[in-house]
Symmetry: C2
DNA sequence: CGTCTCATGCAAACGATTCTCACTCTGCCG
DNA sequence: CGGCAGAGTGAGAATCGTTTGCATGAGACG
């Protein structure tokens, strides 16, 4: 019921070889550069399906854009993301999980979910930044 | 250099008497209901100025809309928000602060910021939900 | 191959937010 | 008190990421 097409393969391949969070538009651009003809709408649709299947992680950056990434760990986890280049570190955060569960229950809330992401400048982008400033 | 206008007073008053997170559009609607004539763009501008001044907290809901609230504590803190009605509990989260600081440094990131919000159904909305389901 | 569908591409539609610009009103000075 | 400079306002146009409608294309399976 889910067909394998050239376009899906291309998106899937691209994401498999990328370890930074990328927006749908960036992915579309990268595919064009690779010589893959693919419609922007198709990228959006594909990336959404993959996210729904749990094959991709999604997060919103400060501008509200959705960024996608194929993470190594498939279970629930969090991220430390470079806001300049998208470089990402996957994080486990037992303390945060505990906090979320406890606090939600304490206040009588149900179906509690949480978001917890860290954004900063990775070491490389920090260095680049400093040489620019001088 | 910052002038007090009828519109700003109205928005400020409204927020002072509301303790749920609300979108700019909701606020605009509420003001219209109160009989306050005010443009939507003005609500957006006002709410932004107030947020820049640190008078309001902002967060993005799952749909990416910005929600505003005048919090009791003016320092950095987090929230437990009802995704149905906007009811909010302010949270301190020392464990989360510690986690964010530690992890960022460990990976050589600088200028690290974090988001951490809990979304659920408040006790009241949970009850309402269950009676609907039956 | 042929058929049945799901997938694709393009353009139009969306929706929250921002911007433009002519007009209004606040805060201040004389 | 007027009078003015310039911040503030409102209506609508513009943005921009994302979604959708629809005619066309192409997997899967016999
Ligand atoms: Mn978690
Ligand atoms: Mn914090
Ligand atoms: Zn970086
Ligand atoms: Zn509620």
């Amino acid at each position: 019921m889910q067909r394998m097409t050239r376009q899906r393969a291309a998106v899937s391949d691209l994401l498999a070889g990328t370890d930074d969070f990328r927006s749908a538009q960036q992915l579309h651009e990268m595919l064009k550069d690779r010589g893959e003809g693919i419609g922007l709408a198709t990228v959006y649709r594909t990336v959404q399906v993959m996210a729904d299947n749990g094959d991709l992680d999604v997060l919103r950056n400060a501008d509200g854009e959705s960024l996608y990434r194929q993470c190594a760990s498939r279970g629930h986890h969090h991220h430390l993301v470079c806001r300049r280049c998208g470089a990402t570190v996957e994080l486990d955060a037992a303390s945060v999980e505990k906090w979320a569960a406890t606090v939600g229950a304490q206040h009588g809330f149900t179906a509690v979910e949480h978001t917890a992401e860290l954004f900063g400048l990775c070491a490389e982008c920090t260095a680049r930044q400093q040489s620019e400033d001088s």
